[in-house]
Structure formats: structure tokens, C-alpha cells
């Protein structure tokens, strides 16, 4: 197992090199002159042509693109992510400031989503085709169809303005996380609930369940000890993926709730063509995503003893 984890960790560095290269090239292929766009962000619309040219040379935009990437990679190897081209703030500091908020929101959203999805999916599978099942699945259809920005505003209107239960915006206390996490969690739970239901239905139809019934186990034992663990395998994969995406930030929800996360930082930096900040964000997101998918794979082995990573070596 440890060998496997070490191998996976080594592979992450390859993933990072690839992802950052793609991000760098994509930024370069986007229309517009980076020097001009960055100058616009720094100096406002009053800028002069000489300011653009000075910036181009100072930030190295006059070098060929592959050279620019290699320079960035060289700095990375010295653990230097550079400074933001727009605000000249340290990239690492900025990301470290944003990361806790993003992680907290990701964890809280995932928990809420699972708290909604798992009971709904299990109930749906056990009471297949009843009114309960149909209404659960209908609600989840609605959940997946409602855009986040609208759901977010509705929740703010109801819980913050009408009931005064939670603050409408901001970051800091446990109360602040409720509404943004509920917004993200609700829309995420929809798909997870459907997946849980389908997966459990499939497992319940398998022979070993019939065999367990024949042996006289009661339904509760069959469900919790035999069926659920196998049914959860695809759910774990999916939830792990969702968690990975969440660690990349949630721009819409972050914007609505003034949540100081990494998603808005990344999108703002992309628009401002802030290469070093984009690269830094992409790097962190790639690492976190890889780590969360590694965690999923480890969880797999825990859930299903048939999965042994070491044997493949």
C-alpha cells in the first residue's frame, strides 16, 4: 500500500508539469496582448504605449513562449511562485490566504451534499417506484437544474433577510459557511442521490444479496453489511471527484457570498492575464485534485477488500 501511495505521489509531479504547461499555453493562445492587458489593469485606461513596452520587457513577455514557461518552471523548482503581475503581491501568500476558505467550503459542501444525497438515494432504492422515491428523484432533478446563483440568492433572501438566521455574506464564523455550503451542497447532492439509488438498486439485484436473504439475514443487516458497501464504490468515486472540483473553487458561490476563495481569484487572474497568479492557482488546484483522487483510491481499498493495489506491482 505504501509503495503504491509513493508511486502515485511521484506521478503527481508529472501531472503538475502537464497541467501548468497546458494552462500556460491556453493563456497565451487567448486573444489579446498580455503586456497590454496587464498594463491596463495596473495603470488604468490612461496608459501610454511606452508603459506597455516597458512592462513587456520588465516581465519578460518579449521572450518566446516556451522560454517564458521554462523560466517559470525554473522558479518553481526553487519553490518560488513569483509575484502577481497585476498587484505585485506574492502569489504563494495570496493562495495561502485563500486556501483555508476554499477548503472549509469544500468540506462543508460535501458533507451537506452527502447528508442529503445518501438518505435520499437509499430511501429511493428501498422504496423503489413509490411516491416517496418519485418525489425524492423529482426534488433531485430540480436541485440539479436550479442554477447556483439563483439558489444562493433565494437562500440569502429566505434565511438572511426574512428569518435573520444566518449572515448574508462574508467569511469568518461557522454561521457564515452555512448558506454558501447549502447552495453548493444542494446542487451537488442531486446527482449523488441518483447515483446512490441506481447503484444500490443494482447491488440489491445481485445473487449474493439473494443468497444472504436465503440464509435468513434480516433486511437491515443485508442493507448495511452487504449491500451498501458495494453500492458506495461509485458514489465514493463521484463524491471524490466533486470534492476535487470544489477545491478548485466555486466562482459563482464565492462571488455571491463574498467568500474569499480561490475560484474567484483564479477567474479574475485569467481575465487580467496575470500569468504568475494563474499558474500558481492551477498548480495548487492540480495538486489538491490529484491528492483527493488518491484519497478516493485509498478509500476504495478500505471499502472493498478485493481491491489490493500492491498486487499489481
Amino acid at each position: 500500500m505504501w509503495k503504491y501511495i509513493a508511486k502515485r505521489l511521484a506521478m503527481i509531479s508529472i501531472v503538475i508539469a502537464g497541467v501548468t504547461l497546458v494552462a500556460f499555453s491556453a493563456m497565451y493562445l487567448a486573444p489579446g496582448d498580455p503586456a497590454e492587458v496587464i498594463a491596463l489593469a495596473r495603470y488604468g485606461e490612461d496608459l501610454s504605449a511606452s508603459q506597455v513596452e516597458t512592462l513587456r520587457v520588465a516581465e519578460g513577455f518579449d521572450a518566446p513562449v516556451h522560454v517564458q514557461y521554462m523560466i517559470w518552471l525554473g522558479h518553481l523548482l526553487q519553490l518560488d511562485l513569483g509575484k502577481s503581475l497585476v498587484t505585485s503581491e506574492d502569489v504563494l501568500t495570496e493562495i495561502r490566504q485563500k486556501l483555508p476558505a476554499t477548503a472549509e467550503l469544500a468540506i462543508a459542501s460535501l458533507l451537506i451534499s452527502l447528508l442529503i444525497a445518501l438518505p435520499a438515494g437509499i430511501l429511493g432504492a428501498l422504496r423503489k417506484n413509490t411516491l416517496l422515491d418519485k418525489s425524492c428523484m423529482f426534488v433531485s432533478l430540480v436541485g440539479v437544474s436550479i442554477p447556483n446563483f439563483w439558489l444562493g440568492l433565494l437562500l440569502i433572501w429566505f434565511f438572511a433577510l426574512t428569518l435573520h438566521m444566518f449572515p448574508s455574506y462574508g467569511y469568518g464564523s461557522l454561521k457564515h459557511i452555512v448558506l454558501p455550503a447549502l447552495t453548493l451542497g444542494t446542487s451537488m447532492s442531486a446527482v449523488t442521490a441518483r447515483l446512490t439509488r441506481a447503484s444500490l438498486l443494482e447491488v440489491l439485484g445481485q445473487e449474493y444479496i439473494v443468497a444472504a436473504r436465503a440464509r435468513g439475514f434480516d433486511e437491515r443487516t443485508i442493507l448495511f453489511r452487504h449491500a451498501l458497501k458495494n453500492a458506495f464504490l461509485p458514489v465514493v468515486t463521484f463524491a471524490g471527484m466533486q470534492f476535487g472540483y470544489l477545491l478548485g473553487g466555486a466562482v459563482v458561490v464565492e462571488t455571491i457570498f463574498s467568500w474569499p476563495g480561490i475560484g474567484k481569484l483564479l477567474v479574475d487572474s485569467i481575465f487580467a492575464m496575470d500569468f504568475s497568479m494563474v499558474q500558481g492557482c492551477v498548480l495548487f488546484i492540480a495538486v489538491l485534485f490529484s491528492l483527493s483522487s488518491l484519497a478516493v483510491d485509498i478509500l476504495y481499498a478500505v471499502l472493498d477488500p478485493r481491491i489490493r493495489y500492491d498486487r499489481r506491482d
Binding site: 489579446g32 495603470y43 488604468g44 490566504q97 438572511a160 469568518g172 455571491i256
Partner: protein, 524 residues
Amino acid sequence: MNRNFKLILIICMLFAVIGASACIGEEKDGTAKGAGSGENSRELVVGIGTDVNNWYLDMFAAGDARFVWSQVYETLVRLDSDLNVIPGLAESWETPDDGKTWIFHLRENVTFHDGTPFDADSVVFSYSNQSYVRQAVLKPVQSVEALDTHTVKFVLKKPMPLPFYLTHVAWPVMGPGCLDAAGNFIKPVGTGSFKFETQAKDQEIVLTRNEAYWGEKPLLDEVTFKVIPEAATRVIALETGEVDMVIKVPEYDVERLEAEEGIQVHRKLTTFTDFLQFNCDKSLFNDTRVRQSVAYAVDTETLVNEVLEGIGEPAGGRPYSSVMMYSDPDLKTYTQDLDKARALLEEAGWKDSNGDGIAEKDGKPLHTSLIVSKGVWAARHNPMAQVVQGTLREVGMDVEIKVLDEGAISKLESTGDFGMILRSGYFVWGPYPKHFFVHRSGSPYSHYHNETYDQLVDTADMTVDTQKQEEIYHSLQAFVIEEVPAFYLMHEEKVVATGPSVKGYTISSEDPWLNLSGVYLERK
């Protein structure tokens, strides 16, 4: 491992995660501060849209940063709430040679937030070669020199009405204490009525009262600017009482807020003007008649009523908002006349001969594009572009709307592959002549080339005599109405809303300026 053990392990992990996130959350609970903390508190909480990206003079204060800067920093020359030029940190100024040399007499007994005295040297420091403003707008400035402790001389390459330019909130006077010994920026040091206290990135900025302020002392002890990017959330935060004041209230919320008890909506016409800029170099708009046709076709009154709920003033082609200095009150503006619009198009050779509703010339149908930026103005520019598209269709123009980011727009601008751009914002800021520079040949944003126009703009910017200035600016406004390098659509109204406890606020016309001098709180 036994199965139950694994299960317990997973559950423990889950609880650890929940616990950890709860701890992180609770730790910060103490610092979370909302409005209404304490009775009779003198701490104002203001909701703004973007954080302060920069505090130093080597860069522009973008977005809503200037609302915060205007509390901390001050300019040599100031504008009152109706845009009249009044003394700021300079008590008086003069030009012995019609605008090539400017001498500013500075206010005495003013100190910076770090206790150092405000003097001529700090002005020299603020407008040194290092300041970005010297490299752009104030390029003609040759030297800035201290004549004595409280007199500063600016020498320019060409005559220029410098005091106008020095009213800009983003080009204020900063104390040399902004920098450490090595020349690195450490903290904002200004002379304003509030001092910088703390900043939590993308969350809040806290300012405290400057006890040593030279002017009318603020009645508030503390001002906290909360960064709330989404306008809808900002408004709700005002309604819940989490903030006391919000800026940039969306037009569609105004009526609802006005009806709400305790909430006051303050509105005032600003200098910001949205305009439809034509590509006069490379598209069918190089024909003046086609541009005039657009001017006759688009009804700016409908635009303001339909898109902006009647908030703002229809421009009808008028480049200067009526609050601006030298805005010509007798300027003949455009009113919608679709027949005239069609006639002008026909005169220019565009006629619908096959009856499909689109005009043709030499067998080619009239297709053109309208570029809208994805940026800060998108919320109102998108629907405005759609109204323009709809009306132009009626006179036979087929307009395609393209919503693009700044990079893509600047690329199209350099290739000239577009018809019109919907623009706003900074191009039309302040009472100084740069407003007209956007259509001057040398401007990077210009798509119009006319020698008469260039000369008028240059003369205007070199004239210091106010009466002559007024004359030239009136003729420039008439020129824009006649030649239509751009069709000006509407003048923006600034909307600020305050909660029940805020008293004594006066809104000012200058857009990125928030005047908190008479503001006090009466918490119930």
C-alpha cells in the same frame, strides 16, 4: 483489519474533518464584526464591490478602491459635490505664463498619518518620475520642484490646465512614510480624514479617524469597508442591517429600496457617460451619414427607461453630462426620427431592395458588429446593446452583438475588424478635457481621424483661460453631435443607499469619491 474497526476509522475521520472545520471557523468568530455592534457605536460599515488592489502611486487604484482612497488620501485641488474646483491641500495656485508653469501654495499645519508634516517635498515625492501618472496623463510635466517648504513649482513642456488633472482621486499626495528605507511600500500614509488600520484581502478594510485632521473632523470613529462583489448580496446586506451603506446599487433595486422604511436612496448625476463608438477607419461607419443614421435611430430615452428603469439621463448624443464643467446647456441633441435615419442610410447608398428588411449596397447586405465588454459594465451594457440592435434592425441594419473580454477587444481594435463598441467608465471621468481625447488620432482607443477635431482637442488642452476653454469645449460638443465619432447614449446616476441609522450623508457627483465628512450614526 477487521471490518468494524475500518468503519469506526472512517467515522472518526469524518468527525475529525467536521471538528477541524468547526474549529477553524470558531477561531475567527471573534474578529467577525457586523454593523450594529454596540449601541451608539460610531463605526460605519460600508459595502463596496471590489477590494483595494493597490495603495501606492506606482499603480492605478482600480474598481472601488478609489472610494476608499478618497478617505485616506487627498489631492492638491479638489472638487466639491457639484464638481466645482475648490482648494484641497493647495490653498491657491497660479500660472505666470499661461499654463506652462504652475505654482501651488500649500496649506500649512497639515500632517500625514505618521505624524510627519505635509510640505513641498511630499508633493515632489508624489509626482516624481516613479508615479505612474507622470508616465501617462501627466507626461508633459517636465519637473516638479520645491520653491520653499510650502510652495511647489510644476514646469510643463506645453501649456496645460494642470489643476483640473490634480483633482483626480487616484493621483493624490502621499507621504514619503509610505516607503521603508529600502524604498519598498509598507503602508498607506496620507493626509485624509481617516487613517488606514487593517486590510483582510477580499474581505474588509478598516480605517480609523484621523484625530489630527486639518479640516472638518469626521464624526465617525471608524469606517469598515466590506468587500461584497455581488450587487444583489450588497443590497440584501443593507436590508438585513449587516452594513450601513452600500455603493453602486443596481437600478432595478432602487424603486424597491425607496419604498422600504428606514432605507434612504441617494441619487446624483455623475460624469460617467455610456457611448457607442464607431469604427470610422475601417467599417461602413466611415461614412458620416451612416453614423448620423444610427444617432437618429437609437432613442436614448427608451434606453434609460427600459434598461435602467429611468435611472440616469438620456444623452441624445451629448458627450458632456450636464453636471460637467463646460457642458453646453443649449447643445442641440438628437431625438429619435426613424424616417430620417432611413433617409440618411439611403443617401449613403444603403437601400433595402429585396424586401428582407436589411439594407444593401452594391448587392451586399448591411451587416456589422457591436462589441460589448464582459467587464464591470456588462450588467447594463448587455441589455443596452440589445435595445440598440433592435432599433437599428428597424432602419435596416443587421447588428451582431459580440460579448468579449478586454484582451479580445484590444485585438479586434488593433485589426479594425468591428463596427461599433459600447464603452463607458474611465473615458469620461472628471471635469478635465481628456474626455475628448478618446477620439483624437493619437489615442490608442481612437477609431476616428480628423485633423480639425485633433486640433480642437489639443487647443482645448493647452488653454488655461476659462472663458476660452468654455468656447472651445462648446464647439467640441457641437462637433461631436455633427460628426458623430461616437453616439453618446446616457449619463449615469450614482446610487448610494444608506440604512436607518446613517445621518448626514451628502452624495457627490464625482464618481469614485465618497464624502463621509458629515456622516454620523444614530443606532436604535
